[in-house]
């Protein structure tokens, strides 16, 4: 099972600015002073081995969109945030423009998780089939409303692909596109749903836009069971713990601290911070990643949990 991240930012897409790029260039060139960087190989080694990812790269700015690739005949996508636009281009390059089946699992219907759908080019091409899975009763209406006047110039009824909607029930396990899929209700405005995907002995959890109420012991235990022994937990770590339970309580998001604790208690192997706060720059996200790795280290009580931070373009093989 491969997991590719096409959009990792929370709430709204963001973009690097010219001053952001300049700051990275200045840091990289300062660090290069006095080094022998005469060849391309030497330059690439310097970038890859000496510079931090916050300088040499970027965590990216597209909103939520994650691809699950099990080398099957049908394609699986979690959420249709703005990352769906480059994903659509890549899918057409890999598999051709038509004749494909896409399964989309929607965490919820807020716009940052839907806005990429009208820009996912395969929806306009006859011969493609989409099955949009989710637990919200108004899921079809939400997609139709997003693509209707005056909000968007191409109405939903004009789409060339065949679009189907699959109403799932949380807690029930389905066999879809060679995956075992189970949805779970989460705390978020208007509700959201996490998904547990299992295939060939590997388990991936997609749990974004989910607030964890720490006083609800039964709810905490239910998430521990949902994450149990997962190979990868993609987790809404938008805020610090102090923010998540004070000024941003009831905003529907969680923290790195709670994510690590749940993964430790669940015996999960890998914790992936996701849904990055849009006001956080690369330096901030990188420092949060370093802190979170340290937190996992000092609170570890059993097997280690690998801590990573999602970025647009990240590919993980489970």
């Amino acid at each position: 099972m491969k997991v590719r991240f096409w959009g990792t930012r929370g709430s709204i897409p963001v973009s690097l600015t010219a001053p952001d790029i300049r700051k990275k260039l200045v840091a990289a060139l300062e660090g290069a002073a006095g080094r022998n960087l005469d060849t391309r190989q030497q330059i690439e080694n310097y970038i890859d081995q000496e510079l931090g990812f916050d300088i040499s790269g970027t965590f990216g700015g597209h909103s939520s969109c994650v691809e699950i690739d099990i080398q099957g005949t049908e394609h699986v996508i979690c959420d249709m945030g703005s990352g769906a636009r480059p994903l659509g281009i890549d899918m057409m390059a890999r598999f051709g423009p038509s004749g494909q089946t896409y399964h989309v699992f929607m965490s919820h219907l807020h716009m940052d998780h839907m806005m990429g759908f009208p820009f996912f080019t395969p929806i306009y091409i006859p011969g493609n089939r989409f099955v949009i899975h989710g637990c919200h009763s108004g899921i079809e209406e939400a997609f139709r409303r997003q693509q209707s006047a005056p909000g968007f110039p191409v109405d939903f009824f004009m789409l060339g692909a065949k679009i189907e909607f699959d109403q799932m029930k949380p807690g029930e396990t389905y066999e879809i596109a060679d995956l075992r899929v189970t949805a779970k209700l989460q705390h978020h405005g208007g509700d959201s749903y996490g998904y547990r995907f299992e295939h060939d002995g590997k388990t991936m959890i997609y749990s974004t836009d989910s607030e964890h109420k720490l006083d609800d012991i039964a709810d905490t235990q239910s998430f521990i069971e949902f994450f149990r022994n997962a190979d990868l937990v993609i987790f809404d770590a938008m805020y610090s713990l102090a923010e998540a339970i004070s000024i941003k309580a009831d905003w529907g998001h969680s923290s790195n601290i709670v994510g690590v604790e749940l993964c430790q208690l669940a015996g999960a192997k890998r914790f992936c911070m996701f849904h990055h706060e849009p006001s956080h720059d690369d330096e901030k996200i990188a420092s949060t990643l370093a802190e979170t790795r340290r937190f996992e280290e000092i609170t570890r009580f059993d097997q280690p949990v690998e801590v990573i931070s999602a970025y647009d373009g990240l590919e993980i093989t489970l």
């Binding site: 610090s240 713990l241 004070s246 601290i257 340290r294 609170t299």
Partner: protein
């Protein structure tokens, strides 16, 4: 009903010092909150400032930190004064990573905390 944790109360100057021991986690956070509650009521404007002596706290989880958040919120609403002192190195790091060092005034020693809240 949770059992009440022994907070080993003592006075120093004008402040009440509470010194819990061990871990404040999923198993003990309710006990800690229950033990803290009666002291919080007196931590108000013109009342008794509180210093939480964490020298013997080995670990605090998110649930324990939530209990501290609720305590800080109550004391603030009552215009009282509360501080934390003598964090172990692990708990100090947890405070920094969770940003609870921005929720509480954290002092290196109980003496410094007593001066800080008096």
């Amino acid at each position: 009903m949770p059992e009440t944790m022994n907070l080993n109360p003592r006075t120093q100057g004008s402040a009440l010092i509470l010194a819990p021991q061990g871990r404040i986690d999923h198993a003990s956070a309710a006990d800690f909150s229950a033990a803290l509650e009666p002291h919080l009521a007196e931590c108000k404007s013109g009342g008794t400032p509180l210093v939480l002596d964490f020298a013997s706290i080995d670990y605090i989880s998110s649930v324990g930190l939530r209990a501290l958040m609720l305590a800080a919120r109550q004391v603030k609403a009552q215009n009282g004064r509360i501080a934390i002192a003598a964090l172990t190195s692990v708990v100090k790091e947890v405070f920094e990573i969770s940003r609870f060092n921005m929720v509480y005034k954290v002092f290196d020693s109980v003496d410094a905390a007593v001066t800080g809240v008096s």
